[in-house]
Structure formats: structure tokens, C-alpha cells
């Protein structure tokens, strides 16, 4: 049983409650959760544009690779759309972070592909306070879906969260997820 995380990297996001995220230490389990989802959605925020790993790739590029491998629709928040288009990828949807969360909490919403609401929402690159509070909204008001935070600072209000990772280990985590989804 993985550890239930209460203290994220950023102390502002400390959990004041009883239901915290399950920390997914193993990237293979993370990949498995993504693969098993029927209608997942990847929500990418602006920090994914700005964050460069030492190999020159941004975290957005890993996000897009994961989405491509499992044909997962994407939602570009803030001004991420422009960067995605520059990378030659059209996002499946463009909502600001609050808007997409407001839609997701409605079980009758038909999702970005109009095939029904999503069952797993993967977040990456959202500003830390907004991500945590958005995840809180979904924890309380969207029991019909699960959330996953692919953020190296970790998020207690998600259902599944990455552990707190150094930059190098975060890159490794992404690469492991990608590798596992390729096979």
C-alpha cells in the first residue's frame, strides 16, 4: 500500500483534512492507471511550457507524448495553446483551469470529445496553488472521476499524486511512464 501523502513540497498546500492522495511511487503503476482509464483527459498548464529539463525538453513535451501514446485528449489552460500549436499539436480543448474544473464537476458534461465526462484527469504544469484548489474542488464535488497530479511538488488533494521529486528524478519518472505506455 502506497503512502497517503499529506505534506507536499510547497507548505502552502498542506492538507487540512482526512482524505489525501495516494502517492504513486512507481511510474509503472502511473502508466497502468492511465492506460486503464476509459476516457482520460490531460490538462496542461503554463508551468509545463516554462519548465526545461537538462535534456532541453519541456515537461509539456512529455505530457504530449503521454497523451499521444494512449490517444488521450488534451486541454490547454492559460496560454499553453500557443506553445502547443508551435509544437505542431492542436489541443483537443482550450479552457482556463477554472473553466475546465467547473465543467468536470458536472457528471453530465459530455467531455472534450463529446463522448461523456472523463474518468481520469491528469494534471501537469498548473500553478501550484491553483492546481491544489482545483483538485480540492474535484475531490469534494466530482466523485464520478479520479484525478492524478504529475507534478514534482506533489498534491495532497489529488486521488493519485507523484512523490516529491528532484528535477532529475522527475524527468526519469516521465520517461518511465512514457516507456511503459509504449509497450
Amino acid at each position: 500500500m502506497a503512502e497517503v501523502m499529506k505534506l507536499p513540497f510547497w507548505r502552502v498546500n498542506v492538507l487540512t483534512g482526512l482524505k489525501g492522495a495516494r502517492v504513486i511511487e512507481d511510474p509503472r503503476e502511473c502508466a497502468s492507471l492511465i492506460r486503464r482509464a476509459k476516457r482520460p483527459l490531460f490538462v496542461a498548464g503554463p508551468r509545463a511550457i516554462d519548465h526545461y529539463f537538462d535534456n532541453g525538453k519541456t515537461s509539456l513535451e512529455y505530457v504530449l507524448e503521454i497523451a499521444r501514446l494512449v490517444n488521450m485528449p488534451t486541454c490547454a489552460t492559460a496560454h499553453v495553446k500557443k506553445r502547443m500549436l508551435e509544437l505542431g499539436i492542436k489541443p483537443d480543448s482550450v479552457y482556463d483551469i477554472i473553466e475546465i474544473i467547473n465543467h468536470l464537476k458536472d457528471p453530465d458534461w459530455q467531455g472534450v470529445r463529446k463522448e461523456g465526462n472523463h474518468d481520469l484527469i491528469v494534471f501537469s504544469g498548473i500553478r501550484c496553488e491553483l492546481a491544489e484548489l482545483g483538485l480540492s474542488t474535484l475531490k469534494h464535488f466530482a466523485p464520478h472521476l479520479k484525478t492524478m497530479a504529475l507534478c514534482r511538488y506533489s498534491h495532497p488533494n489529488a486521488d493519485y499524486a507523484q512523490p516529491i521529486l528532484s528535477d532529475e528524478k522527475w524527468k526519469g519518472y516521465f520517461e518511465e511512464v512514457v516507456t511503459n505506455l509504449q509497450h
Binding site: 513540497f9 510547497w10 507548505r11 502552502v12 492538507l15 487540512t16 483534512g17 482526512l18 482524505k19 498548464g45 503554463p46 489552460t77 492559460a78 496560454h79 495553446k81 500557443k82 500549436l85 508551435e86 482550450v94 482556463d96 483551469i97 477554472i98 473553466e99 474544473i101 467547473n102 465543467h103 458536472d106 498548473i126 500553478r127 501550484c128 496553488e129 491553483l130 484548489l133 482545483g134 480540492s136 474542488t137 475531490k139 469534494h140 464535488f141 466523485p143 511538488y153
Partner: protein, 765 residues
């Protein structure tokens, strides 16, 4: 039981026999009187909650876990608990402004008498648009302003009461009360600012107020210095009075942080603004202030400790903040001065005149013996070498902006300060990093080495918008040919300091009317262009297209709401007296205004924003404001956008989400740039006006998002709305998404779509 004042009492309070306008349906409204209006807003703009805490800890049955559908021992659920927390915050904000107004008005009545006339000059006849509309009273004297405060105080008791355990149980009714608190807040702020304008002789009826110095670099450190922190300038102004009376103005620098700074520069253009509240600890630790005078609101609660560290003297001048200090109000001035100078004692002095005299005299005496100044890069480098490069990055973990402080320190230790310089731009200098640092590195002190020492120019607060300005811009605002009023308001908890100046200038260039207030107005001044000019030096200070104006301190925010009311009252000639719903409905449907509280941090800011929302003005909030827990959002595709056409009496499904949201958090400056022009659209825009608004929306969207907006089909009503410059590509897009023309209507109104005492014909003007 809901009535606290009988009709006769209200009639007497508002002098109903004075027939300056007919009395509308809601004089001095209580919570139930505007409940239906609020519920109507909440039907379209539904509350969105982001719980900051899953528990309720208020009563001894708890702690109760409210996670995901669980209820507390009292029966409350998580949505209602969030709404309740927001109400508590709004009541804090309202009480802070209310107590501020109460103190100022009582103080000025004591000095000038309750019959002292309100005269805002030749350009301002509608002196108190909020008071007129909410209460039905046309304030003529300071005594009338006290009536306004008393009305607010009565309302506040009921609002606070409903937060007690076992009271309100509906999140929607909590929101009704939040909106009511917000309305009272803007009302009492208006009373406070009018009182200080007339009582202290602040500028009024002029737009071209003085350009004053801002920035710690503007301080002449060879002089004695009195630093005033807070929002209630009575004691700061008394320092000026003493210096003037004793011909000492050139010997003592009087400076301010936060809103007192705004107001003291309205009193004396020799006074200087240090900066917004986010620079408070930074500046205190510089030790440049010889005497610190605290008044109320947004003052650090550990000022006595910080003052002792640098040897600065301290006077606490408000009953809101006494710090456990001895009350010296009744003691002899000479004795107080002596003990402060010789023994370093800190005192509470409630008498502003005495506090002002003591502050000036102590500053002159202790200044020569004090060492003041910023550390240089060499000293900073030595201090930064103390960073042990801990693997936990404790400084970043504690930082409110999650800044990579350790990186900045490491580079500074190597003699490179560029990284630290950019961090300072995003730093609130809260000092939490120092607490968590295993070596308690003096990060805030090290920041002194990279803080700019430049002097900037800020236009002094101008108070109310002039009636003649409203007559000029009323028509283009309502028709949409002035694309909007954008008001940058609130505090300094923003993602980056330069954002506000950049956004304000962008919209001024695009011929929006740009208003600023509070710390937002200050931080907008602390950025120069290549020619060394700030936005206040580059743009005219009028309430007109392409201008940038500073209304003043927090309480002057009320004048921005007042301007919107004046458009309805002066331009459209709708009677405002006790006619809240009609005026708010007019603003919601016709006045393209958008508030931007990019750095809102306080409970007061939450209240102010909620007050604007009840007037029908949407507010964009910066990312930190998600911690307020509640927004008001629509879902443009799904929601019902039906209004009544006031001229035909027909209900019309406009299919047009304008304004789309009322309270909305945005993640990035870039996204804010595209959202603000959208939130300035209104149903009443003429095709020409909508074309102009769409031109800005499309061009900004293309700049920051790379394409045409994805929701154009929602805001293009007919082909006549489409800007010529984008016609071809917009038509192609509309064809692709199967767009159809939307119904046209001549007088959009929500009146008639919900139960109200207001008759639909009341909106016809």
C-alpha cells in the same frame, strides 16, 4: 422577524420629504430586500467552491470532516461551509472599512462639527452615488455620512450573526449575504473617502493631481524620517500639520506604505510613497525610518519587534492595533518624547495630533544618531555565502510564490546578482524563508542589494470621477465604442510586480479607460519605459478613453463603482434614489467595466470584489485569489442567457454569455490579457461597439494564444459585429462551427425575469 428599522425611521433618516428624486423601492435595504436580485445573479453566475480546508473547527462538536458529501454535527455541508467562510472574510473586510470610516467621520465631526458641508467642488454634483442608490439619502454633511455608517453597522451585526453555528444552512443564502456585505462595504468606503476629502481638503474636482515620488530610493536619508503604515491617514496628516506649523517640512521626510501613503500624498505633495504593502518588511529592515507610525489595516503584526531590531521608534496610533503597548494618550508630550528618545520606549497614542507631534519631534532627535542604509553587493555576497545549499530547499517550500531562493543565494554568493534581482520582483518579502532556513539566512536583508534605488512618479489619488467626465463618456461606454473601463485594484500578492503596469498600459493604448487604486496603483508606478517614464507620466489622468488615473487608496475604490452608477444616473437619467436593482441591472447589461484584482490578498479585497459583483461588475482575480475559496462562474455553452427586452416586455434567449463570469481566477498574465476585453462586452453593445471590443479581443487572443478565439460564436451576434479587419477569417470560422445569428433586442434587462418590486417599465429611460 427581519425589520430592524421601521419605515418611518428610514423615511426620517433619508429625509424623504426632500424630493431630489423619487424614492425607489429599497431605501436602506436589509438582507431580504435585495435577496431576489442576488439570487437572480447567482442563477447565472453560480458559486464555484474550492475548499481550502476540508474541516470545520468552529464549535466544540468538531472538528468535523466535510469531505465529499459528509456533513458536520450541525448539519452543514462543504459548500455552505465555504460560503460561510467567505462571509466571515467579507464581514472582516466590511468591518475594517466600516471602523475606518467610523473613526474618520467621528474624528472629523469632533474637529469640524456634524453640520460641516460636503462639497466636492464644481465638477462633482452627484457627490455620493452609492449612498444615494443604496440608502436613498443624499449626504449633505458629515453628520449624514455618520448616518450611512450607522446603517452599515446595523447590517453588519446581522451578517456576522448568520455565520454562528446553527444559523444559515444554504450556500446560496450565504452568498446573498456575501453580496450584501460587499454592497455595504463599497457604501461605507465611499463615506470614508468623502469624509476625508472634505475634512482634510484632499484634491477633488481636478483630474491633474500632482505627480508624487514613489520608491525607497526617493527618500533623502540625510533627513529625519517618519514612516506611516496602514490605511487611516489621520495621524499621518497630523505629522504634516505639525511640520507645517513649525516650519519643519524641509527637515523631515514623511513617507507611507500601503493606503496611508496614498492619502498622505493627497494631503501634501511633499510626502512620499515607499511602495505597496508587500515591501513593508523589506523597508522596515532597511532601518531608514526613524519613527514608525502604525494606524490600521495591512500592518505587520510584529512591527514592535522589527522596530527594535533597527532602533526605530514606534507609535501605534489606532485602537485596532495596540501591540500590548502602554497607552500614552493622556500623558504630557514632552515626557513621551523623552522616554522614546532616551529609553527607546514604544507607545500607543490615540490622539492623532499628539501622535503627529511626538513622531516629528522624536524623528528629529534620534535621526542623527542612527545608521541608515541598504547593504551593498559585497556585504550581500558575504551573507549569501551562509547558504548551506540544503537539499530540502526549505526556503522554497515556505515561499508564498514558490520562488527558487536557494538558486538566487548561491549565485549571489558567487557574486552574480541577476537571479536575485529577478526574484525580488516576485518576492513579497514576507520573511517566511528566513524562518525555515536551517541557518536563518537574512534573505530579506540580502534583497536590499538588488532592490532598485530609483525614484518613480505616481499620480496622487484624485477621488471621485467628475460628472462632466461621465457626460462625455457615458454614451460611448454604453454603446461600446469606448471598449471598456478596466480597474486595476487591490493588493500586491501578484505573480510578478511588473504585470500590472504592463496590463494597464496595454489597455490604455487600446483606448480603454484605465483606473487604478490602492497597492495596484503603486506597483504600476514602479516600472519605467525606455525614456524613464512611468505610466502616470505617459497617459492623461482623465476618466476618458486612453487615460490612466489613480482614484486613490482602498476606500477610493468606491469611486469606480460610483462612476458606473453615474453613467446610469447622469447619462441615462435613471433615478438612482433607493433604486439599487434598476441601477445594478443597467450596469450589468450596459456598462462594460471589469475589475482586475491581480494581487488581492486581504479579506477587504474579497469584500470589495464581491461588492462590485453585486453591482454587476465582473472581477478578474490573480492566481493566489483561488484561496478565497469561491468564484461566481457561468458555463457559456450550457447556461440560460435569457433576459427581458425592456421595450417589448418579451423574454429573449440571447444565447450570449456577456459578461461571462462575475468572479474569476486566472492563471497567467497572458490569459488575463485575453479575458479582460471579453469581460468588458455587454448585451447592449451596438454593432459598432461590439466590433471595437471584438477587435481587441481577437488581436490579443491571436497574440497570446496564436489563433482566433475558440468562443467567437458565442460573442458574435450578427455579421455586423464582426470587425472588418478580421471579417474573412471570422466568417470562415463561424461557418465551420455552424454559427447562426442571435436574436436582437433593444433594451436588455434582468428586471422581469425574477420576482421583484421593480416594475419592468422602470428600466426604460
Amino acid at each position: 422577524m427581519v425589520v430592524t428599522l421601521e419605515r418611518d425611521e428610514v423615511s426620517e433618516l433619508i429625509r424623504s420629504e426632500d424630493m431630489w428624486e423619487p424614492i425607489g423601492p429599497t431605501p436602506m435595504p436589509e438582507i431580504p430586500d435585495l435577496r431576489n436580485w442576488s439570487m437572480r445573479l447567482l442563477k447565472t453566475y453560480k458559486p464555484f467552491y474550492a475548499p481550502f480546508c476540508d474541516l470545520c473547527c468552529f464549535c466544540t462538536y468538531g472538528k468535523c470532516d466535510l469531505t465529499a458529501g459528509k456533513k458536520g454535527a450541525c448539519g452543514i455541508d462543504i459548500a455552505s461551509q465555504q460560503a460561510r467562510m467567505v462571509l466571515i472574510a467579507c464581514c472582516m473586510g466590511l468591518s475594517a472599512h466600516g471602523a475606518h470610516a467610523r473613526h474618520l467621520i467621528d474624528y472629523l465631526i469632533e474637529r469640524l462639527g456634524e453640520d460641516y458641508k460636503i462639497d466636492l467642488g464644481m465638477q462633482v454634483n452627484v457627490e455620493a452615488p452609492i449612498a444615494r442608490t443604496v440608502t436613498g439619502l443624499k449626504p449633505e454633511t458629515l453628520g449624514d455620512l455618520r448616518k450611512v455608517v450607522e446603517y452599515v453597522e446595523r447590517g453588519l451585526i446581522h451578517l456576522v450573526s448568520s455565520t454562528h453555528t446553527g444559523q444559515e444552512g444554504s450556500n446560496l443564502d450565504f452568498e446573498v449575504k456575501n453580496l450584501h456585505a460587499g454592497m455595504l462595504d463599497l457604501l461605507v468606503m465611499e463615506a470614508a473617502d468623502i469624509a476625508q476629502i472634505v475634512g482634510f481638503g484632499y484634491p477633488t474636482s481636478i483630474a491633474d493631481t500632482p505627480l508624487v515620488d514613489i520608491g525607497w530610493g526617493s527618500i533623502d536619508r540625510t533627513k529625519a524620517m517618519v514612516l506611516c503604515i496602514g490605511h487611516n491617514a489621520a495621524s499621518a496628516n497630523a505629522v504634516i500639520d505639525y511640520l507645517r506649523a513649525n516650519d519643519l517640512e524641509d527637515e523631515v521626510e514623511v513617507c507611507g506604505i500601503c493606503c496611508t501613503a496614498h492619502d498622505v500624498t493627497r494631503y501634501s505633495d511633499k510626502a512620499k510613497v515607499i511602495g505597496p504593502l508587500s515591501r513593508q518588511l523589506f523597508f522596515l529592515r532597511c532601518g531608514i525610518a526613524d519613527v514608525i507610525v502604525t494606524d490600521e489595516q495591512c500592518v505587520l503584526t510584529n512591527v514592535p519587534e522589527e522596530a527594535r531590531k533597527t532602533g526605530a521608534a514606534l507609535i501605534a496610533a489606532s485602537d485596532k492595533i495596540c501591540y500590548g503597548l502602554e497607552n500614552a494618550t493622556e500623558r504630557e508630550t514632552d515626557e513621551i518624547v523623552q522616554e522614546m528618545v532616551e529609553e527607546g520606549k514604544q507607545f500607543v497614542i490615540f490622539d492623532p495630533e499628539k501622535a503627529g507631534e511626538v513622531a516629528a519631534r522624536v524623528a528629529i532627535k534620534i535621526a542623527p544618531r542612527r545608521k541608515k542604509g541598504f547593504i551593498d553587493e559585497a556585504e550581500a555576497q558575504e551573507l549569501a555565502k551562509g547558504c548551506e545549499k540544503c537539499k530540502a530547499y526549505m526556503c522554497s517550500q515556505a515561499c508564498p510564490n514558490l520562488l527558487p531562493i536557494q538558486q538566487g543565494m548561491q549565485q549571489a554568493a558567487e557574486g552574480s546578482f541577476d537571479r536575485l534581482r529577478s526574484l525580488f520582483d516576485q518576492c513579497f518579502t514576507c520573511g517566511k524563508c528566513e524562518q525555515e532556513c536551517p541557518r536563518h539566512l537574512p534573505v530579506v536583508k540580502i534583497m536590499q542589494s538588488v532592490a532598485t534605488k530609483e525614484t518613480f512618479k505616481l499620480r496622487s489619488g484624485r477621488g471621485p470621477i467628475h460628472d462632466v467626465e461621465i457626460r462625455k463618456v457615458g454614451s460611448p461606454i454604453v454603446l461600446g465604442t469606448i471598449p471598456g473601463i478596466v480597474a486595476f485594484v487591490g493588493c500586491s500578492n501578484y505573480p510578478a510586480a511588473g504585470d500590472i503596469a504592463e496590463m494597464a498600459e496595454e489597455f490604455a493604448k487600446r483606448k480603454y479607460i484605465v483606473c487604478l487604486s490602492g497597492c495596484a496603483a503603486m506597483v504600476a508606478a514602479m516600472k519605467k519605459d525606455e525614456e524613464g517614464k512611468t505610466i502616470y507620466e505617459k497617459y492623461p489622468p482623465d476618466f476618458d478613453a486612453g487615460c490612466i488615473l489613480n482614484v486613490g487608496s482602498c476606500v477610493a475604490n468606491s469611486h469606480i463603482a460610483g462612476a458606473a452608477i453615474k453613467v446610469a444616473n447622469i447619462f441615462a437619467t435613471l433615478p438612482s434614489r433607493a433604486n439599487y436593482e434598476v441601477i445594478a441591472d443597467y450596469i450589468l447589461n450596459r456598462v462594460g467595466a471589469c475589475g482586475v484584482a491581480w494581487g488581492a490578498y486581504s479579506q477587504k479585497a474579497a469584500t470589495i470584489g464581491t461588492g462590485f459583483n453585486r453591482w454587476g461588475v465582473p472581477v478578474v482575480l490573480g492566481p493566489h485569489s483561488s484561496k478565497y475559496r469561491r468564484l461566481y462562474l457561468s458555463r457559456k455553452e450550457e447556461d440560460d442567457w435569457t433576459v427581458m427586452d425592456g421595450r417589448t416586455g418579451q423574454l429573449v434567449d440571447t444565447q450570449e454569455p456577456t459578461p461571462e463570469h462575475l468572479a474569476y481566477v486566472i492563471e497567467s498574465k497572458e490569459r488575463a490579457m485575453v479575458t479582460i476585453p471579453k469581460l468588458c462586452m455587454r448585451r447592449n453593445d451596438t454593432p459598432q461597439g461590439r466590433q471595437i471590443k471584438l477587435t481587441h479581443y481577437i488581436s490579443l487572443y491571436k497574440r497570446y494564444m496564436g489563433t482566433l478565439p475558440d468562443d467567437l460564436h458565442h460573442v458574435v451576434r450578427s455579421t455586423r459585429d464582426i470587425p472588418l479587419v478580421y471579417k474573412k477569417e471570422v466568417m470562415a470560422y463561424l461557418k465551420e462551427v455552424g454559427w447562426k445569428e442571435k436574436p436582437a433586442l433593444s433594451l436588455p434587462t434582468l428586471i422581469g425575469t425574477y420576482p421583484s418590486k421593480v416594475r419592468p417599465e422602470a428600466v426604460i429611460h
